[in-house]
Symmetry: C2
Subunit: 213 residues, 2 copies
DNA sequence: TAGATTGTTAATCGATTAACAATC
DNA sequence: TAGATTGTTAATCGATTAACAATC
């Protein structure tokens, strides 16, 4: 199956399909039609079929989709059959939260290092990882394959550390800092801007007030 | 200025404008044109003008936009001139991270309570808040105005606690659990699905492998 | 085979961009 | 006033939905 450019909108929906298929597997469901899945997920059956067809024919006419097979295929598309070595930069509460997140580990995202500013108390550790100073980053990156760097430190630190990561060859950055990052071609950044998410919620909560001003 | 339905795409961009305008204010910039802002933000000037015009004429022909004024207006649209009382349900690492997030406090999101399952060690506290059992929730909600509930607990707990919150009259839920929530009309949910975000990153990292399979 | 349901094309809808008249 | 730049309409682009022929 040849595959061209896939729109971000489609990609964003894949993990959600994956989650629902996982639920269906847990319930022992063997097959599902786009119509049934559309009812469960609150999307149109048409969208499900369109989305999945970007990646090839996973279904069968008159039958629907085989749940475990589709689950596995989407996992493969998402790259989840690979192990990912991840480092966390910023050992505050959020970094700690990510480091301790068992679900990521379960999906093959393995944390291999935790960093923070140099002047960190020496032997503090997170989940068995001694916290290293960011000055150790270049050495660490060149000695270990790092697939993903999660940035859970303030904006300024994130912008400073970013070129060190990309120069070290890291190709994926999971950015929790409240700033956009400038990265070279070929490096992907996934932003999680919590305050922006909270502001959206605040907007929705007050949307009616904006009706006429 | 009459205002009708605003698309989610526009809303999502507002906090980002807000952030860049804040940066400009810090630099002491008094005014900016859509063209200049578009260069800084990597969007089209046309989009900026369209977006802002949904809410009324904030600019001036031949001049551009007054930075502090536009900043304030977007803040108002986002509901940031209100104080928001927030509770956190789930006192794990993530809940702890949110509770300790000074930036939220600065924007008027004040944490007034932290909850976790009942069988929690009695006198543990987060940022001055004793952790209460979720069995105390109905009473707490009826005695305190709660604007936003952040759910930082496992999916099952989130689904269980959700109706308690909505029945108590809470109108906004910030959902970090890996599940979709069913809420009554008039209640807004903002989802932060970290594992789905991570999967998107994983996809992007391996997108080239999908080219032909 | 008949019934069900996909894969896929065509129609619709919405969002983004371009263009330019209005106006400061 | 002339120049700049918005507000806004029209054109384009992309994403979603509908429809149905293909096929299991």
């Amino acid at each position: 199956m040849e595959q061209r450019y896939i729109s971000p909108a489609v990609i964003t929906r894949l993990p959600r399909y994956y989650r629902y298929l996982n639920d269906l597997m847990d319930k022992g469901t063997e097959r599902i039609s786009s119509a049934d899945l559309s009812r469960i997920m609150n999307v149109t059956a048409s969208q499900i079929r369109q989305d999945l067809n970007h990646f090839g024919g996973f279904g069968q006419q008159g039958y629907g989709y085989n749940v475990p097979h589709l689950y596995q295929e989407i996992g493969r598309i998402l790259g989840l059959e690979h192990e990912h070595a991840m480092i966390i930069i910023g050992a505050g509460n959020l970094g700690r939260a990510l480091a301790n997140y068992v679900n990521f580990e379960r999906r093959g995202f393995r944390i291999i290092g935790v960093f923070d500013k140099t002047d960190r108390p020496g032997d503090e550790s997170i989940r068995g990882h001694r916290i290293m100073g960011t000055d150790k980053l270049p050495e660490f990156i060149s000695n270990n394959r790092v697939d993903i760097a999660a940035l859970t430190l303030p904006s300024e630190g994130a912008r400073k550390v970013c070129p060190i990561l990309t120069e070290g060859g890291i190709k994926a950055i999971w950015n929790f800092a409240h700033t956009d990052l400038d990265v070279p071609e070929g490096v992907v950044v996934e932003n999680v801007h919590l305050s922006e998410s909270l502001m959206k919620l605040s907007y929705a909560l007050h949307a009616d007030e904006n009706r006429q001003d």
